[in-house]
Each structure stands twice: as structure tokens, then as C-alpha cells.
């Protein structure tokens, strides 16, 4: 009996040491918007994310400044006029993965994440579909969704020659490593 108690204790202990927490420090986030004059696209590889496989908690954050455009003027306008990155430096998402995914088993799992997306300082409740892949203990998450400019008070003025589209496609790809304290 005593032994069982010790084994149980040992097991509890292992279970407790933050196992199942994954972090990503260079999540890739891409934007794409079809515009009449020319397509607008940008990529950041400076997204950070934390995924707790036990609770399903998922958090994302990306600095707006880190989005790289091919055209520097586009990048300036993105920061200065549309996203106001001085005022709202990050876009964030915080939510919960709805499915129970066993991250100890290799495989590809379709997931649904429900949570709050904050872009341009405006919160929106979103349910986003994505995919979670486990391979040799490494977790990769991908998702693609659309952000509407008007949902986040990103105004598109009439007096602008380079018109931008009203919806922006966003693609996220995050490679996670198990978090070590």
C-alpha cells in the first residue's frame, strides 16, 4: 500500500512539472489583401505563442512593426495610417482549443479555437479553424482566416490613391517547442 502511494505521488509530481506547455518564439504570420492597384502582402516571423496542451489555452501575439512589406512606403502607411502601431503595437489572440488533442501521439488534428482577437485595439470574438500537427514531440499549428477592416475600426479613407481592400487574409504558422523552466 505504501509503495502504491509513493508511486502515485511520483506520478503526480511528473504530471505537475508544467508538462504540456509549448512555446513558439518565431511564429510566421502573413497578410494578404487584393487591391485594385496592386496586391498588398506582408510577413512577420516575430509572432510569439503559448499553447497549453492540458487546458487547451492558446495565446498569440505579433508586433505590428515587425511586418515586412516589399514596398517600404506601404509598410509606413500600414503602420502609420491603418494599424497605428504606435498606439496599438501588437495584434493578439487569446482563446481555447475546443478539441482534446493528445500531443504525445504523432498525427494531424483539425482544431477549432474560440477566443478573442485584438487587432487595432478592437476586440472581436472569433472561432477560428486550424490544424495541429504533432511530429516527434514537436507541435505545429496552422490557421488561415479573414480580418475585416471595419470590424476593427481600420478606416479606409476616400482620398487615398492606393486603395486597400476591406478584408485581409491572415495566415499563421507556429512551430512549438516544449517549454522548459
Amino acid at each position: 500500500m505504501k509503495h502504491i502511494a509513493f508511486i502515485l505521488l511520483a506520478w503526480m509530481h511528473i504530471f505537475q512539472t508544467g508538462q504540456g506547455t509549448f512555446v513558439s518564439k518565431n511564429a510566421k504570420i502573413s497578410l494578404f489583401s487584393k487591391a485594385p492597384l496592386e496586391d498588398i502582402d506582408a510577413t512577420s516571423t516575430k509572432g510569439t505563442s503559448v499553447f497549453n496542451a492540458q487546458t487547451g489555452d492558446l495565446a498569440f501575439s505579433v508586433p505590428i512593426h515587425s511586418f515586412q512589406f516589399e514596398k517600404s512606403l506601404m509598410q509606413e502607411h500600414f503602420n502609420e495610417n491603418y494599424m497605428e502601431s504606435d498606439k496599438y503595437p501588437n495584434a493578439t489572440f487569446k482563446g481555447k482549443v475546443q478539441e482534446n488533442v493528445d500531443v504525445t501521439k504523432d498525427g494531424s488534428y483539425p482544431i477549432t479555437v474560440a477566443g478573442t482577437l485584438v487587432v487595432h485595439g478592437v476586440k472581436q470574438n472569433r472561432t477560428i479553424k486550424g490544424n495541429l500537427m504533432v511530429k516527434n514531440g514537436a507541435v505545429t499549428m496552422t490557421a488561415e482566416f479573414v480580418v475585416m477592416c471595419k470590424d476593427h475600426n481600420i478606416d479606409i479613407p476616400k482620398l487615398v490613391f492606393q486603395k486597400i481592400a476591406e478584408s485581409i487574409q491572415v495566415k499563421v504558422e507556429a512551430n512549438y517547442n516544449a517549454y522548459k523552466k
Partner: protein, 314 residues
């Protein structure tokens, strides 16, 4: 045995309790983990302290990015009021005291080569502009710094006949600009400058070749795309301060700045007749108080010459 079992069970339950607490705290630990991850981030450079490379009189710390071409058209009309202004010249619109056409090309993201031509004294200027220090978001670098070096040539006889020798027609201008973007709305800059005219200009007894000057300028955005700009230049010149005929005045400009996509427009009022610093630092003889201020505008347009857009969204 029973007691031991009980003790083990109590211990287990206690462990269970802490485990339960731990799971309950997990969402907040996700938050704190996110915080610690994002605080690892390096400070980013502060961008777009100003919308264009020039305010009214003074260049800004901004440079044209690599393989981009900035085309500038700057205009100064005639005196709005005073003896030269009024209705007979449609408040100065009939005259142009100076017209400047300029090109700025980005050799790298921080270095550009500039070329321009003024109507005033037919000055041709060629120079380099280098942004060697960038302000950072975390405040570890509080200001941006840019240095400008320009050579000017006045190719024609204009007001004097002593321009025969080409070396006499050369002018030099060097400026160090310090700017700080205090917020997304407010940016200020100061710029100590040195101007050298190989022949003192205007060519008068007692005038020296070299003039130090100091600029203070700023922008306050009223909306995202529109702001107020103020620009003041103070030449330190004993000759200019004490001269009575002609009298010299310090250039001061106020205006509004508007941005529409690739263009930046500045509509301004200034007493300086000339656009190039080599001209207005040496020779501003018109005064706000005598009605000798004029409407002016600056139009800049940036062309991206990086070739066809490839697209990175895959």
C-alpha cells in the same frame, strides 16, 4: 497500517488540491509566459517621424529607402502683402520667387543621393544624406540623427559680375539633424548647420564666407494624414544682424502637411524667398512684419523602383 494509509490518502488529496489549483491558474500562467516571451523582444526602430524628407525650409531625418526615387516640386510665390503684394499681383500668385525641382534616390535604406535645381540664383545642388542613428521604441536611443552634405553651383552671372571664376560660384552646406518622435502626433527636430559660400553672398563689404545656423522645426498631426508644420532657421551672423541696407531676417515658415498615399503636399507661408538652405540662410531679406511673406507648396512623390512585386503570401 490503517493510519499510514490514511496519511498517504491525506497527502494524496493535498497534492490533488495543489494540482487542481495549478490547472485553475493555468490561463494566467499562459498570460505571464506570453509576457515574458514578448519582453524578450528587441527594441524596434521608430519609423516615420516625418512624412517626407523636407518640412518647409529644413530637411528632416527621413531618408528615401533603397531603390526608391523621391520627386519633389517646391514653389514659393511672391509677397502676399507689402509693396510687392496686394491685388495687383493677385497677392503674390503672379510671381514666383523660387521654384525647386529635386530628385532623391535611395542608395541604401539609410543613405540617399540628392540632386536639385533652384530658380533662385539658378543654384544646382548635389549631395548625400545619411541617417546614421535611429530612435528606438524602448527609448534606449532617444533621437534619430541624419547628416547632410551638399555642394552647390551657381552656373550663371546673376546679380554680380565677380562670378567669373567657377570656384567663386561654389557653395557648401552641411547639416546635422536630430529628431525625436515624441508620440505618433508630435515630432520635433533641431539641426545645426554650416553654410559656406566661396564668394560671400550677397556680395557686400563685410560679409563673411561662413555662416553657422540652427534650425528648430516640428510637426503636430491633427488627423492621421494631416498635420501642422512649423520651421524656423536662425543664422548666426554678425554681418546679417547689424546690416541695415539690406536688412536680413530669419526665415520662418508655418504650414499644413497632407498625405494622400504616395504623395505628400505641404501648403505653407514663409518669409524666405528661396528654397535651398544655401540661398535662404545667406540671403533672406524679406520680413513677415512688412507683409513680405508668401504662399508656398511642396509636392513630393515616392516611386518604388524595386521592380515587379513578387508577393510573399504563400
Amino acid at each position: 497500517m490503517k493510519i499510514k494509509l490514511l496519511a498517504a490518502t491525506v497527502l494524496l488529496l493535498a497534492m490533488q488540491q495543489t494540482y487542481a489549483q495549478k490547472t485553475a491558474k493555468d490561463s494566467s500562467s499562459t498570460d505571464s509566459l506570453m509576457k515574458s516571451l514578448s519582453s524578450d523582444d528587441k527594441a524596434e526602430p521608430v519609423t516615420a517621424a516625418f512624412k517626407s524628407t523636407m518640412l518647409i525650409l529644413t530637411p528632416t531625418t527621413e531618408t528615401i529607402k533603397k531603390k526608391n526615387l523621391n520627386f519633389m516640386v517646391v514653389h514659393r510665390f511672391g509677397d502676399i502683402a507689402g509693396s510687392q503684394g496686394g491685388g495687383k499681383t493677385l497677392w503674390g500668385l503672379d510671381n514666383s520667387s523660387d521654384i525647386y525641382i529635386g530628385f532623391e534616390y535611395g542608395l541604401t535604406d539609410n543613405l540617399d543621393i540628392d540632386f536639385g535645381r533652384s530658380k533662385y540664383e539658378q543654384l544646382i545642388n548635389l549631395g548625400l544624406k545619411y541617417n546614421f542613428l535611429q530612435q528606438t521604441t524602448d527609448g534606449s536611443v532617444p533621437v534619430a540623427m541624419t547628416i547632410i552634405g551638399q555642394t552647390g553651383l551657381k552656373p550663371y552671372h546673376v546679380t554680380t559680375t565677380v562670378f567669373d571664376d567657377y570656384t567663386n560660384r561654389l557653395n557648401y552646406f552641411a547639416q546635422l539633424i536630430l529628431s525625436r518622435k515624441f508620440s505618433s502626433r508630435l515630432s520635433l527636430e533641431v539641426a545645426p548647420s554650416f553654410t559656406r559660400n566661396n564668394l560671400p553672398y550677397p556680395f557686400l563689404v563685410g560679409n563673411g564666407n561662413n555662416i553657422f545656423s540652427l534650425t528648430a522645426a516640428g510637426r503636430l498631426k491633427l488627423t492621421k494624414r494631416m498635420g501642422v508644420v512649423v520651421d524656423y532657421v536662425h543664422p548666426f551672423s554678425h554681418f546679417r544682424r547689424n546690416s541695415n541696407s539690406p536688412k536680413f531676417y530669419n526665415p520662418l515658415g508655418v504650414g499644413i502637411e497632407m498625405e494622400t498615399g504616395g504623395h505628400v503636399f505641404t501648403l505653407n507661408f514663409t518669409n524666405a524667398q528661396a528654397i535651398s538652405p544655401m540661398n535662404y540662410i545667406s540671403d533672406t531679406e524679406s520680413s513677415w512684419t512688412k507683409g513680405q511673406y508668401r504662399l508656398g507648396f511642396t509636392i513630393t512623390r515616392v516611386f518604388d523602383l524595386n521592380g515587379k512585386h513578387k508577393g510573399t503570401y504563400k
